[in-house]
Amino acid sequence: MNIKRTGLIAIFELQRLFATKRGWIAIAAFVLVWYAILRYAIAEAVSIVSDPNFKNMIQSFSGVVGMHRIAQWPEMELALYLVWSIFLFPLFVIFSSADQTVEDRTRGTLRFLTLRTSRAEIVVGRFVGQVFNTLLLIAISAVGAWILMVVRDPSLWLTGLSRATLIVLELTLITAPFIALMSVANHFANSSKMSMIYAILTYLTLATLVAFALEYSAYAEYLFYLFPGFQGTETIAQNINLTRFATPVLHSLVLIAISCELLRRRTL
């Protein structure tokens, strides 16, 4: 695999978001949605949970769902932002990265590209580009949460900044397998919309089947390790273990390898 060509493909993906009209509209919509979440959900929630009585109650409750560590963070905005993001961003990237190769394939643009770069470089380059796009968008929203926190308590700006940086990196790691999943879904559909539908349907159907299998065997629980994003609970619990960090990497690598192989075999 040629790093330079892969890099060029990745940079072109960045341009798709940050240098096209459609990309700017998407960013504007993203910023507005996060403004609404931060202003009306997170800021309001912080004023409620900062009440000492409520805090005691939520501590006892959060222990049950594994939130006792982040519930103790003085940077409450970031704690709430993390909980929101863990559920929202995987869903978001299913939409934002739905078109990695599918539209280019149906339009024939991939035929121009494959005379200049290998199919694997296209898959990996697009994936890397999408991961960077997602990182930048996560960073934009995290900066919003950080500003919200600094407005409430300016003394937290530095600890909040380092915590926000770690959150951005971890959220990117969490979303990476979903981007890779969309790369795979692109090979089974003829449009980005159909890719999204296939990915969501497949994910939910398999999750339901595993949940059903759990009724018959406790070992079926291990099947959840195959699902991208399952380790999100480890992040919320702030457990330091291999599952939390290695699983999304492994999921991404396996899914991208599958995507490369599918495109390699495919007629363009």
């Binding site: 060029l8 341009q15 643009t109 121009f112 494959t114 199919r119 363009l268």
Partner: protein, 297 residues
């Protein structure tokens, strides 16, 4: 002459239909090569196999000594695939620059190449345009422009003039003529007239089978094709046969007279003189057969 493409016993099947049936040929660098055949003959399948867009079921293909799709061919083989379009969200120049850079050019060289190829297809004003802002003919020319980046050794054009008006089609033919000294063009089309004066070598595909025709091969008999205002008749044939050196005269499907004569004889002046003496008004006199007559005559 160096061989640029070698194809041996190529087979491709779609279900029960055999699109390519043991196709074998060798092509040398040089003047443009025509890939002709009716719709469904297997032209696009062969074209796609050469470009590495699809894998053959059997057989072997070597392009410049490499397998189709090999990284060694990046920048050396370019193609205009049928119906392929550029990304509508990016400007023409943006995409051409990317293609240039993927072919190994640095940013500045890719920029220069983008200007050069846009000028070649007479679309330098479309540098900032997005593909959807252009007409069908302009989009096609832009797609041809991308094939010319970095002067590749082989350019495959699949139905390059399909759907174009005569002026645009002529522009593309002229471009091929102009660049044939530096690049070997392979043109796929079912329009024989279009390829007639461009190509010396013809690959004729029919029902997946191939026949190669070398149009400049020295033959014992040469041919003149005379198209009169009216269709050729037996009286035309009889009079033409009286000319010295003429061996055979026939009338083709479009009514033109095919005069076969011994190579080395000068028959054309005699034919023109006969036309004048007999008051036959001729529309054209072609040295050789038309491509249509070569393939189907």
């Amino acid at each position: 002459m160096s061989s640029i493409i070698e194809v041996n016993n190529l087979v491709k099947e779609y279900g029960r239909k055999r699109a390519l049936d043991n196709v074998s040929f060798t092509l040398n660098a040089g003047s443009p090569i025509a890939l002709v055949g009716p719709n469904g003959a297997g032209k696009t399948t062969l074209f796609s196999t050469l470009c590495g867009y699809l894998n053959a079921d059997a057989g072997n293909v070597q392009i410049l000594g490499h397998k189709p799709g090999s990284a060694a061919l990046f920048g050396r083989l370019a193609a205009l695939p049928q119906d392929a379009q550029l990304d509508p969200r990016f400007s023409v120049s943006n995409q051409l620059r990317l293609y240039g850079q993927l072919q190994g050019l640095d940013a500045k060289a890719a920029e220069r190449e983008t200007h050069r190829v846009l000028e070649l297809v007479d679309l330098k004003d479309c540098y900032h345009a997005k593909p959807h802002e252009l007409s069908h003919g302009m989009r096609k020319r832009i797609c041809i422009a991308q094939t010319l980046l970095s002067k590749p050794e082989i350019v495959l054009l699949d139905e390059a003039t399909a759907g174009l008006d005569p002026v645009n089609a002529r522009e593309i033919r002229n471009l091929v003529k102009r660049l044939q000294s530096e690049t070997t063009f392979i043109l796929s089309s079912h329009d024989l007239v279009e390829l007639d004066d461009l190509c010396d070598q013809v690959l004729h595909l029919q029902h997946g089978k191939l026949t190669a025709v070398d149009r400049i091969q020295e033959a014992e008999l040469a041919t003149l094709t005379v198209k009169l205002k009216e269709s050729g008749t037996s009286s035309h044939i009889a009079l033409l046969k009286t000319l010295q050196g003429v061996e055979e005269v026939t009338v083709n499907a479009s009514g033109a007279l095919l005069i076969e004569y011994r190579s080395g004889q000068q028959v054309d002046i005699d034919v023109l003189r006969l036309c004048r003496d007999q008051g036959w008004r001729y529309k054209s006199l072609v040295n050789g057969k038309t491509l249509e007559d070569e393939l189907f005559g």
